[in-house]
């Protein structure tokens, strides 16, 4: 039987006797290896800093080997142990030990670092330079499996900034890692691929692209290797990040199917889930058929479950993945995905992690767009109240996304959804958003109003006006004012809002717009320097000149003409810059003269034109591709 833990710890600092110290460290090591409970005992006795201290003094090979092994064991399988090792600076000493002349010390330090790196608490970045990097690159070629692998893992952590990446390249890291990539053992290949991904990340250089192409097939192949798969998806995600050119190649190599298979495995660890979900999220970012492949891989239930995972990193990765998937109109519309993801996404709006809240709210923007099952799920899950609460969140990112989600919820909203949103969202919140400190939030507020008045009946317009206490129209008018200091984009959307009131509200709506004081702004906007503003103003004129031949319409045309609209429109017709304007201009001119036969379609219908209709009531490209 060995001595008691307290005795052993006391012997660590016995000043004189070298052999006694060596024996004490070795005894401690043999007791704690594979024994969580004993590790706990020694950690609470303060053994870790003492062993680390021995590691730092020039104590000779055998003692260093035993110390490194003990430190590695403390760092394995026990959070308190890892914390103690990190807090006492153990990692830095182990890194120094890698430069030892003594092979046994290098091996022991490598094994210990490998243990440390298995913990999620392990440092993500090291600041090594010069000779240390050169030494690591040399170790990449070590005969011992563990040493070469660990050298690659350390290098992967030396690529945090472009300067560090350059230093690793300078030390010859690229060649060393590429050589290691060709090793027979999967663990070494995986470590090399991981380090290469880190080394190349964020680097758009053509050379980097070429290396990425070389690394990709190795990583995809390693996905099928059970021994090392844990770290592979994460490395793949890093490799594919910022490199859309490789997404196709990866998908062609069946990366999506292989990754999805990991999620189907019930034993899938947290680390594997995080890497897999991130890699899938990246692969589904830009390509519709990749999203379809993932949808067909039958792992949506697993992805949805991951949104509620106890591990914050898994939840964040799942949010990222769902966010990519939510960019697909087809994937959302043709399945119940939207409805399935909405409730967990709403739970994530209250996540302790701010980043997760932001991703979840951005995802919801897309999910609630035009998908009735998802919208019903939002209403059923009490999500509206959460969204409304989020419009006053301290983080601007969250306010933007919340307002955006509400805006999209109102896009083509059913009567039920429309009523529910207006009931849940106090008008004061909209006013607060419209005068938010963040310009993006102000823009969302106007777009939200634009959608409130789109595709609805005169009674809806009336109800919406009542909801605002009669001031919604005034808000649109003031933010359409060219003399006010409002950015052109927001002015154009304010004009579209007014246009929607005129179209949806029919006679009453058109009369309200004419009486709102908007006419001078509309006319002035016809000769604005901004194309979008001019176009929106033309649409307003068209809407107000409806319906042809009716006395009220003729009166409005006359009023607009009196305000200078006719002259401004003629000016537009002679002005060559925008074809869009010319086409709309022709229509508008015709209307104004009362002789045209083009005219706008009925309520809710699309106006004639060249594919710009969606601009009229809704958003442009950002309807679907929210905030990316």
């Amino acid at each position: 039987m060995v001595a008691s833990p307290a005795d052993l710890v006391a012997k660590l600092s016995s000043s004189g006797d070298r052999d006694a110290r060596l024996k004490a460290v070795r005894d401690i090591k043999n007791v704690i290896i594979g024994n969580k409970q004993k590790k706990q005992v020694f950690v609470s006795l303060g053994a870790v800093p003492r062993v680390v201290e021995l590691l730092s003094c020039d104590a000779g090979g055998p003692l260093l080997v035993q110390c490194a092994a003990a430190v590695g064991s403390f760092a394995y399988g026990l959070d308190a142990g890892v914390q103690a090792v990190l807090a006492s600076g153990g990692v830095a000493h182990l890194l120094v030990a890698l430069s030892s002349e003594d092979e046994a010390v290098v091996l022991a330090a490598s094994r210990a670092l490998k243990m440390v790196y298995q913990s999620p608490m392990a440092p993500a970045a090291h600041a090594l330079a010069g000779s240390a990097l050169t030494r690591l690159v040399w170790l990449l070629g070590a005969a011992n499996l563990c040493v070469a692998e660990v050298a690659a893992r350390v290098l992967a952590r030396c690529c945090d900034t472009p300067e560090q990446q350059a230093a690793v390249l300078e030390a010859g890291g690229l060649g060393g890692l590429l050589a290691l990539l060709a090793a027979a053992e999967p663990a070494r290949r995986e470590a090399a691929a991981d380090a290469l991904a880190a080394l190349l990340s964020g680097s758009p250089a053509a050379a980097s692209q070429a290396v990425r192409r070389a690394v990709l097939p190795v990583l995809v192949k390693l996905l099928g290797c059970t021994a090392v798969r844990e770290g592979v998806p994460g490395a793949l995600a890093a490799l594919l990040d910022d490199c859309p050119a490789l997404h196709r190649a990866a998908a062609d190599a069946d990366a999506i199917g292989r990754l999805a298979a990991f999620l189907q495995d019930e034993r899938c660890s947290s680390r594997l889930k995080v890497g897999t979900l991130c890699a899938l999220g990246t692969l589904c970012l830009d390509y519709e058929d990749h999203r379809r492949q993932l949808a067909e891989a039958r792992v949506l239930p697993q992805i949805v479950r991951a949104l509620d995972d106890p591990d914050a990193q898994v939840r964040a990765a799942a949010c990222t993945c769902v966010r990519s998937m939510s960019r697909s109109v087809v994937a959302l519309h043709c399945s119940r995905v939207g409805a399935d993801v909405a409730p967990p996404l709403f739970r994530r709006l209250q996540d302790a992690d701010l980043g997760i809240q932001a991703t979840a709210s951005a995802t919801l923007c897309n999910v609630v767009l035009d998908t009735s099952p998802a919208q019903e799920a939002v209403l059923a899950a009490g999500g509206l109240a959460t969204l409304v609460r989020l419009t006053s969140a301290p983080a601007a990112e969250l306010r933007v996304n919340a307002a955006w989600a509400l805006q999209n919820l109102m896009h083509h909203a059913s009567a039920d959804v429309r009523a529910a949103v207006l009931a849940a969202l106090p008008w004061e919140r909209v006013e607060a958003l419209a005068s938010d400190a963040d310009a993006r939030v102000q823009e969302r507020a106007v777009k939200l109003l634009q959608n409130v008045f789109a595709y609805c009946t005169p009674r809806d317009v009336e109800a919406a006006q009542a909801w605002s206490g009669g001031v919604a129209l005034r808000l649109l008018v003031s933010s359409a004012n060219p003399a006010a200091n409002v950015p052109p984009l927001r002015r154009s959307h304010s004009l579209y809002g007014l246009c929607n009131v005129a179209v949806s509200g029919e006679e009453a709506g058109r009369a309200a717009v004419m009486a709102s004081g908007a006419v001078p702004h509309i006319v002035a906007s016809l000769s604005d320097t901004d194309n979008a503003v001019r176009l929106a103003a033309v649409w307003c004129v068209i809407a107000l000149s409806e319906p042809h031949g009716k006395p009220a319409a003729a009166q409005r045309v006359a009023d607009l003409a009196a305000a200078g609209a006719l002259a401004a429109l003629r000016g537009l017709a002679e002005d060559p810059p925008s074809l869009d304007i010319h086409e709309r201009d022709g229509d508008g001119g015709g209307e104004e003269g009362g002789a045209g036969d083009g005219g706008a379609a009925g309520e809710g219908g699309l106006l004639p034109g060249t594919g710009q209709e969606v601009l009229m009531r809704d958003e442009d490209e950002d309807v679907v591709l929210s905030s990316l």
Binding site: K29, I33, N35, M115, L145, E185
Partner: protein, 232 residues
Amino acid sequence: MGRGEASDRRRIQLSEWKRKLDAVKIQKEDTNKLIMNFLVTEGYVEAAHTFELESGTPPGVDLGAISDRMEIRRAVQRGNVEEAIERVNDLNPEILEEKHQLSFHLQQQRLIELVREGRTEEALEFAQEYLAPRGEEHPAFLGELERTVALLAFEDARSCPVADLMDIAQRQKTASELNAAILASQCQEREPRLPGLLKMLVWAQDHLDEKLIYPRINDLVSGELVEPPADH
């Protein structure tokens, strides 16, 4: 063989069979590698060393590591589990850190050895200190843990219901598990390839029996081809 339906099958005479066997070219180096693989995996360091000198076949591993492995295995076989644990931790601390079951079995063996030596009080203390916490941490070990601790409840552990644990075969089992783990940590195969090849030979002959009458290898030790019995 020799059954009634024998006449349905084609018959191949010894001379023809030998001619066919001779036509298959097997590289000398390949047979040498097979032998070296056997010597290395089974841990015959001296023989491997001599074979390397005589045939020029590289062992492919550090023969020193084999000596370590053999000594560790022998330590368990001798019942000196503590020494084995210390040695394996010096060889590669990852092994017992990561292989919980192996680690449990070594501690279990330690307890068995204490019982064998009649150090009951120490055994009891050891069980509480080292085995019980592992059972809590890994419920899968609880059954085995209970069986092992039962040894302490009997006056004569050798004639109790769990006496099999006291058997030398139990030591052998633990030693083999440890040996395999060390081999795996050195990226080596757990078993030599030769026995696998012999199994394939038996399997192939069984299948061939359904189609042919041919000279068979019935004795794997001599490898002698036995002429099929004459037709009746």
